[in-house]
Structures are given as C-alpha cells and as structure tokens.
Amino acid sequence: MKAQLEKVKAEALEAIAKAESAQDLENVRVSYLGKKSPLTAVLKNMGSLTPEERPVMGALGNSVREAITNALEEAKKEIGKKELAKKLEKETIDVTLPAKKCSCGKLHPLTSIQREMEEIFLGMGFSIAEGPEVETDYYNFTALNTPEFHPARDVQDTFYITDKVLLRSQTSTTQVHAMEENKPPIRVISPGRVYRSDAVDATHSPMFHQCEGLVIDKGITMSDLKGTLLLFAKQMFGEKTEIRFRPHHFPFTEPSCEVDVSCFVCGGSGCSVCKGEGWIEILGAGMVHPNVLRMSGIDPEVYSGFAFGMGIERIVMTKFGISDMRLLYENDVRFLSQF
C-alpha cells in the first residue's frame, strides 16, 4: 500500500509539472484528489489494514494528499503568473502613438507673467490697484510733478482725446489715485495697459503693459526700495539674481534710478540676451518726489515712499526669448500654446 501511495504521489507530481494551464491543473486535481482518484481508492482500502498499520498509512495518505495539494497550489500560482504575463504581452500597445489630450487652453504669456508678479507682491502684503486708461492729464502728468510745458511730457508721445483727457502713457497714474483714496501705509502694485504713439514694429507697440508699484509709510528709505526689488528679482528670475541701480531721472521720483537684473540666461558673464553686458534693464524706480506726495495730500515731512514701474512686454520677451513684439498681439494659438 505504501508503494501504491508513493506511486500515486510520483505520478501526480509529474502530471502537475507537465500541466500548462489552469485547466490542466484542474484535470490533475480531479484525477488525483477527486472521488474517483487512485488516492481515494487506495485510502478506501484502509479497512483491510491492521490497527497498527492504519494510523501509519493514514498519516502517509494525508501527507501524499498534502504534497499533491501544495504542489497544485504552487503550480497554480506559477501558471497564473505565466498566463498573466501572456495576457499582458497580448495587450501591448504602441506607446509612441499621439496622446489623447483634454485640450487645455493657456493664459496669454503677458497675463501669466503679470500673475507671477502679482503673486510675488501679494505675498509681501501689496494690494492690486487699478485706474482708468482714459485718464486726465492731471493724473498722467501734473500730479506726477510734470506740469504743463515740462519737457518730460515730450519724452512719451501721448495720445490725446481732448486737451485735458488722454490715454495714460504710464501706470504711474494709479500712484496718485492710490494716494488720494487711501491713507498711509500704502502698499500697492498696479498692472495694466498703457499707450504711446509709437508705430508697431518688432520692439514697439502703441499699446503695451506696465506694472507699477508704490509703498508709502513712515521711514521708508531708498535701501528699502533696493531690498524690495532684490526680493522681487530673486523670485521672478531666480535665487542667484542680483540687481544694479543706475542713476536716472524721472520727474516723479527723487532720487531716481534705472534697475538692471543680472542676466538670467548667462548669470552675468555676457550673452546674446544681455548683449554681452551681463545686465538686463527691467525697470525704473525711485523715492516718491515730495511734490507728488504733497499734491496727493501726503505730508513729505512725515511720510516717505518709493515707486517703481516695469514693462511687462520686455520681461516676457527676454524671459521667453521672443524677439518680435507683434507675436504677442497676433495671438496665433500655435504661439500661445507654447507658454
């Protein structure tokens, strides 16, 4: 009987090893462990054994059953793996075929850069101020210390509507509105459209965008201006960015400066973007002129402040390497999808 059991075990294990599919295994299970299997048949004959032999053979029978069962389980797992692998192989697709996209649109590059600026200044506690684009010459010039007949009025070729009404040539107009409408401390930026009578070409447009900034409080210094702009530049152009102040003149700030950032392409060593200078001019700034404060009802003996203004087109163009401003207003979706 023992020999019979060993034989059944050996045959069963061989059959299992030969099995190639889940079905084969099921057939092995039925034929070796089922009711009509040789094992069952052998164990049915237990009655013919002596009481001493019975537990020995019983144990042996069980171990054979167990061995077959275990082997079946193992084989099942193996075959399952193989079958899954086969299935996966069959399901292979060409991953280089084009993607199916949920077609998202994008913000215009001018808006996306403007938003980036807004986020930086919002984080520093600035609000976003607005003002009209069709403006009076008082806000565009007079209140900015540029009285009538001042030669600086010619620097910007302004579009006039009437003698006193014009299209604002700078977002600095919002400085005055902000100072008239709020008491210090004032901390605002003001992005928006401005207009100058420049014919359209690769670097000029009669309409473009600026972003103005204004801080008024007690004890505001020129070093605060430099600190604020450095903070801004590092966030806008990268942690390694440095800034440089150069003296300049604006009627509404004193002292005034032009501000360069170290070239974010070459890092300052000189390249085609910075024209070999290592610096890129991005904005004008200065301490708000006491006449401007006074005209807007703020006492320059008590308060001081700084203002700055930058051209958004210029930043967009240098940052993205766009050489022709007209692309920004043509709005070809193939262009817009790149940003």
């Binding site: 994008k106 506690g125 976003i128 009209p132 069709v134 007949f149 509507i161 210094t221 605060d224 043509e330």
Partner: protein, 796 residues
C-alpha cells in the same frame, strides 16, 4: 549729446579708457549710450608721396603710381583717378588695410599690373567736402596737411578722436555741453576741471557797440537776459581743421567760420547762439517783443511761419528777424558778403519756447535746449568765447562793448543741510565730511548749514535732490538692501480681480486660449460686425491724432478684435481655435470726456465646437460666479449672430448678461471665416455685481429616487425650454430634475410640422421612498398641466 575725448582734454587733463570712462559716467548719472572712434574703422592707411605717375600699358584710364610711404622701398599702386601728380601727398591704403564700412584692401593686379593697395578719396575715408573744403570730391584726396610720408592718416586728419554718446535726462540741460560734461567727469573721477575764461581783445576803431545797435527787451519774463556783441570786417571762410574736427566728432557738419563758431560755442557752453547780418537790421535796433497778430516770418529753412501773439520774436525796427529761441529768419541771415554781424546770446523762458516750437511745428537744437530751462548766467561767457574765437580765427574785428540786458538775477535756491536726514532718507551711512566733499566737487556752496547750488543747477531744489547728488557720487551700488519695517497688511485681490482670475482658470481649463488685443479699433470695425448705424455703441472715445485709422477710437465692444484673431488663426490653417479675452470696453458717457471702462469677456471658437458647447461654457461661467436665476432666451435680433442660433442669458430682473451663438454668415464673410464660428459676449462687469460666493451645504438624499421617461408630440416651434418650464411648474416638490434626452422629427411617424420630445424625470422625496402610486400621481398632474398650458399630450 556727443562728447569728443580730445576736446575734453581742454578742461580735464587726464587720459581715460573709453570703456572705463563710459561705465563710470553712467554710474554717476550721465548715461553713456555708446562710444566710437572713427580710427577704429581705418587701419593701415598712411600718408603717401607720389614719386612717379605713369600710364598703364593696357588701359587708357588707369595710372601706375610709385608711392613713398616712409619705408625703405616705395610701393606700386594702380589708381583710376586722374588728379594724381608726382609730388602730391595722398592717403594710401596699404596691403591688408581697412576703410570705413568694413572695406578690406589687399594687394592684387589691375589689368596685369601689380597694385599693392589703394589711393583714397575723401568719401573712401568716410569724409566729405565739409570736413576738408579744399579737397576734390571726385578724385584722390590731395592732402594739404602738415604731414610726411608714412604718417598715420587718422592722426593727420584728426580722426583719432573718441566720441562718447550720452543720453542726457531732461533735468540736466547743463550736461548738453562740453563744459557741463567736463564738470561731471571731474566730479566722477575726483579730479580737477579748468574752465578757461575767454579773453576778448576788441578792436580800437573809436566806436562802441552802441554806435551799431541798441537792444530793447519788452518782456523780461520771457527773455530774462539778452546779451549782444558786434563784429565787423567779417571774413566768411572755412574754419580751421581743429575746429572742423571737433564739430565733426560731436556730429555737427562744418559750414563756415561764423556758423561754426556759434555751433562750437553752443556745444562748449550749452548756450545757443545766433548771428544776424547787421546790415539787415532795420533801424539798427533789436527789439525782443511778442509777435503781432497775423505776423509772419520766413525762417532759415525757407518756410513761412504764421506767428501768434503769445510767441516771442526778435525784431528790428519794423519786422521780426527771428523766432526767439527757435530759429533765425531768412531776412537777416549771414551770407558770403556779410561785413558786420550781431551775435546774440540770450536766455528765453523754457515753457514759452516749447509752446512756440510746438505751435509752429519746428523743433530745433536751440529750442530743445531752451525748453529744458537754461542758466541765464551762461550768456555772457558764451558770447565772450564766441568773440575770442572770432579773434583767434581772424574771422573779423570785435567792436568794443557788450550790450547785456539782464534786469533781474534769479535768486539762488537755498536748501538746509542735514546729513542725518539725508542718510535716514537713503538708508545709508555716508559720513558728513564725505557729503561736504561731494558738494565741493559739484560746486554746491555750503554756508552756515545752508546749501546753495550753482546757477547751472536749477534742478536742485530740495533735500531729496541733494540726497540724489550725494548718493550718485558716493555710488548707487553702495546703497544697502534692507526690508522695510512696516505694519502687516493683507495682500489680496479684490472681489472683481478674483473673479477675473477664476474666469481665466475656467476658460483655460475648458480649452480656451487667452488672447490680448489692442483696445483701439477703426470705426469701420463696427460695420464688420453689422452694428446698426444708430447703435449707441457707435459713440466711441476718439483719439485726436491717431497713428492710423485702425487705432483711432477706443472700442465699445471687443468682438471685432477677437474675431480678427479668430480669422488670423483660420488663415494660418489652425484646425481648431478656441480663444477668449477679458477685455475692457470704453462706453462713452453723455457730457463727460472720460468713458465708463467696463470689463467684458468675449469668447470665440471654430472647429470642434457647436452651439451647445458654447451654451455649456455660459452655464459654467454663471455657475462659477454663483449667479442663480437666469433664463436662456432665443435672440433673433442680435445683428452679428445667426438669427436662429443665438440666445441671450437674461437675469430674473431682466438684465441681459450674455449674448452668444453662431456668427451671422455675413459677419463670418466679413472676416474671411469659411467655417461656422461661435461667439459668446459676456457683460462681465454686470455679472460681477451679481456674483455670489456664499455656499451652503444641502443634505444628501437619504431615500432613493424614481425615474420616469415621457415622450410628447408637439409643434416644431415649441422650445424645449418652454416644455421644461411647464413640467417644473406642475412637478411640485417631488420633481427633483428634468432633462430632455431625445428629439426627433418624422413626418410619417409624428406628423407634419411636429416633433417628438422625450424627457427624463427624477422624482424623490426627502422623507421616504416613493411608492409607484405616488409617482404615477405626480406624473399625472404634470401631464394634465402640460395639456392645459401647452396643449401637448403623451406620444401614443
């Protein structure tokens, strides 16, 4: 302003490297645009002496020259010019030399004869007859300079100068002069500057200036100072080379000695000068007066100018002879026969000159200077310098005496000095002693704690101006960086700014690209979108001097510009385009010059979109802004739209929030759009007044719903919206939602002029699971209502 480095040496005795000089001056506030040296373009060109000149054996116009170039051996150069003779000194471009414009000269053969370079004409050296009046223009430049063979031509011709170009800001007219820039140079490099005082010998002919001319100033506010000198026995001739070279370096063309002297002094002192031919001054007098009504003058450029009474003119006894500070008149212009001249060196009121120049449409070098406000103290030095040059050049005899009408010296600005205040303002720590040293360099006097800027620095008026002077000389790069100490403020977008950002996010998420278009348009653009002739939107803000018609008025609708973009994309063969602009429109207000600037959102698309996609976008925007209670109403009257495929979104209080639909075929054609295009126009400004972001939780349903599908046959004209409205009206509390899910028309099955509409109804009670009977009852009520209101019944 162009500065000659050679000229600068008259005042500052130092050699500067052009790059280091430019960087330094830029950092102290005189921005350098660039610098150039004509000699950089000319290399290996020397003075050559012609030894022999022989005919070329194989050419009847070429000549073979043996040229002494100061080397051991002469060189052979072939030339085509016919004015060469043995013994002449000429510019010789040797083998491997360079000429202006990047011309590279190499040895070669001309008709078989070796030529080791080229003899040069004026033009080939980048010069013209004004630079060297004695030279022939169409031949080799025969040199009459003091030079010998082998000398570098640049040195000989005075081309070895470096020109530095400055961008001078409007507050510093004093820096539009060599002397002004010399002062800045000295202050920047902490070195000495010497401004020579001109010395005039005067002629002793027993007469004084008063025997020649009198000067009367009738408006000393517009002409605070008028200084005049007389020169007689004038000889008009070319100026000497040194003077011509200097003018040339500064970008001024030499004309003749008198004109050159006025230009030279203007460059040196920054004081415009004028010379009258005394013989044309009627009554031997100069009157500075206002123009008379309808007075005219023909200026030096031969154009007749109409003057008006607020303008200031220089006149003689009976006529205007110059427009003050702008340009002289043709009637008193000096000419080759001029014998006696009157020099004018005057100070005119800046705004007045600016206004006059603008009004007569004539901006000149002089007016550009005057309008910035010049220093009246400067007129005397300038006129003395001019007369000194007259004597130096032997151009005439200076008559004894000066007429100087200067009734009131302007008061000097006085600014209290407080070093601590300046440091506190700048955030710096500049020592008081350093500040004082800076003031000294800038000739700002400090007396008893009060600062008195020099007369040429009228721009220095207050502490902030002084602070700038301190820091620009101390160094802008030495300003520390600090963070302002201030109370915390909340930095956030306001409700409107926030909504616009949300709309951006929604629309870009839905596949729309944001565009930016010009705010100005042409009035014709309104025709393109078929705007009715009497539409109030045709009243636009008009730009008085536009660049062109397409940018001549401010838009009252952004539709034309957005359609233009759509058309551009179609023209570029982009298969699909979905675009939008959050666009300001400028709506005129009765009786006011400034318009109402309103935000609108225009969305446009072609390609894989249809009417219902656009409707979905509208619903999403309304939902985004939390606007509830609106209806979609067919709009057959919007002229830009297909009358059968256009709808308005109307709020419950009757305000039109949105108009959208398919573009009218005519409008489509106007833009060359050969594909069905769709547009949504949102009155975003209005919608933002209705926005509501309050959110309240509504309990999720506890009990299951029951659904019923109902199909009706109705007239074609009946809209789905009307049926839905009626179903809702009769559905009561149990009706949770109703949506149409099938529409079909079939003359045989549903009849002519009819359609079948199928609706899915969801019924639910918050309190229990509805029984079949309860649902049937609710549906029966709806059916009854529909029959009563609309006369429609269930499809059999």
């Amino acid at each position: 302003m162009k500065l000659s480095m050679n000229w600068l040496k008259d005042y500052v005795k130092e050699d500067f490297d052009p790059k280091a000089y430019s960087d330094k001056l830029t950092m102290t506030g005189s921005k350098v645009e660039g610098y150039e040296c004509p000699a950089d373009e000319i290399k290996n060109v020397v003075v050559g002496k012609l030894i022999t000149v022989e005919k070329h054996p194989d050419s009847d116009h070429l000549l073979i020259c043996m040229v002494d170039i100061g080397a051991e051996e002469p060189v052979q150069i072939v030339t085509g010019a016919q004015n060469v003779k043995p013994g002449e000194l000429v510019p010789a471009a040797l083998h491997d030399s360079y000429l202006p414009g990047g011309v590279h000269i190499k040895a070669g053969k001309l008709r078989g004869v070796p030529s080791n370079g080229m003899l040069c004409s004026l033009g080939e050296l980048g010069l013209d007859k004004h630079d060297f009046p004695y030279a022939e223009e169409d031949g080799i430049f025969l040199l009459q300079e003091d030079c010998k063979p082998g000398d570098d031509i640049c040195k000989v011709l005075g081309l070895d100068d470096v020109t530095v170009e400055f961008e001078i800001t409007s507050n510093r007219p004093d820096c539009l002069s060599m002397i002004g820039l010399a002062r800045e140079t000295a202050a920047s490099f902490d070195t000495d500057v010497t401004i020579p005082t001109p010395v005039v010998k005067e002629t002793d002919n027993g007469k004084t200036i008063n025997d020649y001319i009198s000067v009367e100033v009738l408006d000393s506010k517009l002409c605070p100072r008028y200084t005049a000198r007389v020169v007689e026995n004038v000889k008009i001739e070319p100026s000497p080379k040194w003077l011509r070279s200097r003018l040339r370096a500064c970008g001024i063309r030499p004309i003749n000695n008198i004109v050159d002297i006025t230009n030279y002094v203007c460059l040196e002192y920054g004081q415009p000068m004028h010379a009258f031919d005394a013989s044309f001054l009627g009554g031997s007098k100069i009157v500075v007066r206002h123009a008379e009504k309808d007075e005219k003058i023909t200026t030096l450029d031969s154009i007749e100018r109409q003057l008006s009474e607020e303008m200031l003119v220089i006149a003689d006894a009976d006529k205007a002879v110059a427009v003050a500070g702008v340009m002289g008149g043709e009637n008193s212009e000096i000419n080759d026969n001029t014998k006696t001249i009157v020099f004018e060196s005057a100070n005119f009121n800046g705004p007045s000159v600016r206004l006059t120049a603008k009004a007569i449409g004539l901006r000149t070098e002089a007016s550009g200077r005057y309008e910035k406000g010049l220093d009246p103290e400067n007129t005397l030095g300038a006129i003395e310098r001019a007369c000194e040059l007259i004597e130096l050049l032997g151009a005439g005899e200076v008559v004894k005496g000066i007429i100087d009408v200067y009734p009131e010296k302007p008061a000097k600005n006085a600014i209290p000095f407080d070093a601590d205040k300046i440091n506190a303002f700048l955030g710096t720590d500049v020592a008081e002693e350093e500040m004082k040293a800076i003031f000294k360099k800038l000739e700002i006097e400090l007396v008893d704690g009060v600062l008195y800027p020099p007369s040429y620095r009228a721009d220095l008026e207050c502490m902030q101006d002084i602070a700038e002077e301190v820091i620009r000389i101390h160094g802008y790069d030495l300003i520390p960086t600090t963070n302002f100490k201030a109370e915390a403020l909340v930095g956030r977008r306001n409700a409107k700014q926030n909504s616009l950002k949300l709309i951006d996010e929604l629309l870009t998420g839905e596949g729309y690209y944001e565009v930016q278009t010009f705010s100005f348009i042409s009035p014709k653009y309104y025709d393109n979108i078929c705007m009715p002739a009497d539409s109030p939107l045709r009243k636009s803000v008009v730009i008085s001097k536009p660049l062109g018609e397409d940018t001549s008025i401010m838009r009252t609708t952004a539709v034309p510009r957005v359609l233009e973009v759509l058309a551009t994309n179609r023209r570029y063969r982009n298969k699909n385009a979905r675009i939008y602009e959050n666009a300001k429109v400028y709506i005129t207000k009765e009786g006011e010059d400034q318009p109402d600037e309103r935000m609108s959102t225009v969305i446009a698309a072609y390609g894989d979109v249809d009417f219902y996609d656009m409707k979905g976008v509208c619903e999403n925007i309304l939902d985004l802004l939390g606007i509830k209670g609106y209806d979609f109403v067919p709009n057959t009257e919007a002229p830009a739209f297909h009358p059968g495929r256009c709808a308005s979104v109307v709020s419950r209080d009757g305000q039109r929030l949105i108009v959208f639909g398919q573009l009218h075929p005519t409008v489509q054609e106007n833009y060359g759009l050969d594909i069905e295009s769709y547009v949504i126009v949102c009155d975003t400004e209005l919608m933002m007044t209705m926005q509501n972001f309050d959110k309240h939780y509504k309990a999720l349903p506890k009990f299951p719903s029951s659904e019923r599908d109902l199909a009706f046959v109705c007239d074609k004209a009946l809209t789905s919206g009307e049926i839905k409205k009626a179903i809702k009206k009769y559905g009561g509390k149990l009706l949770e939602s109703v949506e149409v899910f099938d529409i079909f028309e079939d003359e045989e099955k549903v009849g002519v002029g009819k359609k079948s509409m199928a609706y899915n109804l969801v019924l639910r009670s918050p309190e229990k699971t509805l029984s079949v009977e309860e649902c049937d009852k609710a549906v029966a009520k709806i059916l009854k209502g529909l029959e009563f209101d609309l006369g429609i019944t269930l499809r059999g």
